[in-house]
Symmetry: D2
Subunit: 361 residues, 4 copies
């Protein structure tokens, strides 16, 4: 349990950072969708380490192989299994971590739960696990592209104390991808690069915020009660490594508003009512109202740093952990496709679920 | 779909604010747990409207009846069905809302999804739905009380711009319950009462923050990947009405820290390593580390207010919505048992799931 | 776990034979379906004890109350909770069974699993639990009636050694209901009544077979692999009390045929291919082919009899169990609506699931 | 949906007979179980075609690769992904089937459901899909071997009209494996070989029955209501290709017994009550009573035969289907490990589920 996400567009990821590989099985993708490995590779390349000077240098190409579910370029409606082999296997590089619990990593908690862990580079808790999610997200994107007007884009809106100024109405994918930070505010982006480079030199790491915008969602997606669309988004985001917070629409700032200020009044739209403001973030009572969904995700600074840290070993003795090897000074640029993937999965799932609702009229 | 929560301690709620009643079925509560209606009523009374001068006056006693799953004062291991009848049924009080979409309510979105809604007082989107959750949470609390050291307490830490100063190490249930605000900082509480009273008079509403603390959680609860304990908590919280944000441990403030500042170094504890700081909020890699879990939930100001608002009717024509009837100026005090309930359900579920993990040694 | 059935048309039953009542929550019934208690009562009346001279005399009216999910005579798309109160509560009638394990009942196995059981009349293992299923089946029938050509009818095709001769092409509901045995072969039915009456007098019980026919199923329902429609039907049937076997189409008799005899050759139909024979029972590879689905379910003779039996008590001591009270000499007539209900639930579920499959073309 | 089985020991299979390969992801296998590819290969070898002169000659070695979830020879508690590459890819051998619906195959029904199918050798409906199940079953067997006394053995008890005489008390794995028929009655086995050889020559196919015996099951496994252990077994068995029937204990023959004959009287056992007879097949009310579980599964003659058959093409025109290529005259010997696998999966799942039941005492 715990390795699947979604109900009708359901994904199950598997794999450790070291060992045969990582991958995903997608169960529920409709048949007749044009799909090939190129569709998937684009997002995997945006996720992979080593894509720019400001990320970690783990040098893997992360090539996706589709093992099933596609025939003559189209999905069959059967499970789509995707495999990415592990390449960068240098177990000896991790030998010194065999008995040591790195601070703010999952070494101790995995041992506490399972009584065993793959100490080679994070094992299942490695961000490498997100390869399966990003691959599945690319399939969800293809499905939504073919069948809806939904567009999911995310960007880095803050790194440490540098906040970007982004015009959410007009921001587009190309602008974001043009920056190695994936922050479309060029000025802020430059400052971020500088800050990340400093952190890298200092052997330290930085956190930040990813903002995600979902345009073109029809009204009526989501569900009352537990599977509210914002609840599923929150779960998806907090299931990503290094996330510490989620807020939708007005989020935590709603606290300082009064009801009379916060309420999104309706006005007649072309076919449906539209809201004059969007404090709701596109969702009311767990169901989309046709406005854009907008939310923000907080990522802590990654736990791998290059300074010496005090910790304990697996026999509860104090030890000093020497810095070794590479570290990723800031995961934010690579987190963007992860946030997109989880969003795409949530929307695709609810969109398929919605097909079984209005069958009478 | 969408009305169940949990996997091994699974609840399914049902019911609209008007009609026969609301309730819950709990599937998976272990047998031989002492349980009766009094155990449940305590939390229902903390949730119900009309319990103090600062909440809405909907006057319902919300008496729980256990319909199944308990025999001679003990659980049977079979589903526990709990029913609370609706009493306050004055459909005529809602007649003017039949064709009107109230701003920031779920009227329009339910119509968009289902093509029909119970316009009598919110129907399924009413906060009355949370009765089933709170009742189930009380059962989860009983189970955890009997079998673990887990203690879940929540309090109001902010209303509008009034922030409480709370000693999280020592805060206790009685202190919290002593205040009608459920804010244990007496000074802040008094200011909150004043602010809420003003808002009530003005026909307006206020938002705020509930902080939740989970003590005594053993290390090793939770799961890698999608069912991370913080992901399940985030889903639980964002599934509550009027919530806009969730953060755990350092939360959004982690963004301003560096890895060297944020990492929770380990030190030898009595049996297990303990952390010197708790920026992680008790969870690493989705699994508890034995520290306290602490998180915060943002609630927007409730949508029902007493001033006139512009909106549209269900034929997309502009209308003015006149204020009528009662409103709840601030849902925060009543939100506390809801936040506790969802936390208890998440912990109980993962605690039961954990039983099937370490079966070899 | 274990008290829910279905994925999109999902039901959760609850309740013991003694205590507050029994019931069901249906999650996933589409909105805008006309529904009231009369729709449900018809099938509950066909299921209830005491409806004819050949069934047990437990005298309950089993009146269904819809507690939620219906508004102004139409479903809301929210959970439909249905409650049937227990009436016939005479716990003293069961006092002698408190410590005794009745042969071929679930008394011992419940104790083995749960360490506790409601010894008043079978508790959760009572056939009374099927009330929730039959009520839910009635809702599924209404849904399928409104939206498809599906017709589910079942009848008693054998009791003990008396086999009915039924023209499956023309058999109809009224013919079946005209017989208290629910066997449409009037001659066989008369012989069955005689046999059951003898068994009743002798304090003994009889088993039999229910045949179920599903007409009007479109081609393409079901799924490859685990959720084959025959697998879901088999699970549904074997989950009914007292069932010992399931066979579809040629069933166990297929064993005596060769491939060249058993294969159902296709011929051009009006729009789709049709099969010349139906050894497949309407299903190939787990998916319907448009032919009628036909299957048979074996029911053992019920365990409650009136002769003295040797058994043990809950301290593993031998005891003699004296016959007391009423017994049902043959459950078959009442099993018919149960078999129909489970079939309707399986078909409704797959029919809703199918809505999310062909979304591209 | 539809490609997963189990709740706590959950498997998801994927793959078509042609394309990259087939495989399975096992989610929920406990950590610290010794496991390697040899454990899995043994059962895969028993399942694969070409293992004896009486099976089809598709010549594949079906080598399993464990891609994740195992580290230094032990399970990690994370998903175990297993891959078996497809080798025997001769798409041209199937070109003539591209537009033709083979009788009693799933060609038409897949097209009806999905609008597309992999016409190269059955695709997802191929028995090759069961590789994933058998691999997962081998892991379940390892788990049960390490932690319980459960032993699952199955054998061929009938082929066409040849019935075996098997001493269920003493029959063992080696006796069964000594026969290429997997029928431990040597005389019957010889007759079966003769019959199969004749059918092979005639280009025809034969059905039969597999009997499965589960020894050493503790009392108390299973669940009331829908997840009765016999219901889960029935679903597992009817989800296997070519199955038409399932019966447990007395099965269909129970119909000819009276309650007084059928009831399994209890007698004091060593610790628990034992039954004098076992008409129940080891299960009462869906829960095991400590007796052996015994059930039978009917397999129809396989659909691929070598005579010319009348059928239609995918434009609903009549065509004659010429016999081509290899066929499997009798799937029964290879069905034995499939039946075992599904049984092992059901038992392992319920055994893990049971861990969360008796947590109070």
């Amino acid at each position: 349990m715990g390795n699947s996400f979604g109900s009708l567009f359901k994904i199950s990821t598997w794999g450790e950072s070291h060992g045969g590989g990582v991958g995903v099985v997608i169960d529920g993708c409709p048949p007749l969708l044009a799909l090939n490995e190129v569709d998937i590779q684009r997002d995997l390349d945006r996720r992979r380490p080593g894509q720019s000077k400001i990320t970690t240098q783990r040098d893997e190409t992360d090539n996706a192989e589709i093992l099933s579910g596609v025939f003559e370029g189209k999905t069959l409606g059967t499970p789509i299994a995707i495999l990415v082999r592990n390449e960068d296997a240098k177990p000896e590089a991790y030998e010194h971590l065999k008995n040591t619990y790195r601070p703010s990593h999952a070494d101790f908690t995995y041992d506490a739960k399972f009584g065993i862990r793959n100490w080679q580079g994070g094992g299942r808790s490695s961000a490498r696990e997100t390869i399966g999610r990003v691959a599945a997200g690319a399939v969800a994107r293809k499905l939504l592209d073919e069948t809806t007007d939904v567009e999911v884009i995310a960007w880095v809106s803050q790194i440490h104390d540098i906040k970007a100024d982004v015009d959410t109405e007009n921001v587009n994918f190309d602008e974001i991808e043009a920056q190695i930070t994936r922050c479309p505010d060029t000025e802020a982006s430059a400052a971020m690069v500088k800050k990340i480079t400093e952190a890298k030199k200092a052997g330290d790491s930085l956190g930040g915020i990813v903002t995600c915008l979902i345009r073109g969602v029809p009204a009526g997606l989501g569900a009352p009660v537990f599977d509210r669309i914002e609840a599923d988004l929150a779960k998806g985001m907090l299931s990503l490594p290094a996330t510490k917070g989620f807020e939708i629409g007005s989020g935590f700032s709603s606290v300082l508003m009064k009801g009379s200020e916060h309420n999104d009044e309706f006005a007649p739209g072309e076919k449906n009512p539209i809201t004059k403001t969007n404090n709701s973030g596109g969702v009311q009572g767990g169901i989309t109202n046709g406005s854009e969904i907008i939310f923000r995700v907080a990522f802590k600074p990654t736990a791998t740093i290059s300074s010496t840290q005090e910790t304990v070993d697996n026999e509860n003795n104090p030890v000093s952990l020497e810095a070794k090897g590479r570290h990723d000074p800031c995961v934010l640029p690579r987190a963007v496709p992860m946030v997109e993937a989880m969003s795409l999965l949530v929307i695709a799932d609810h969109w398929l679920r919605d097909k079984s609702v209005r069958v009478l009229d």
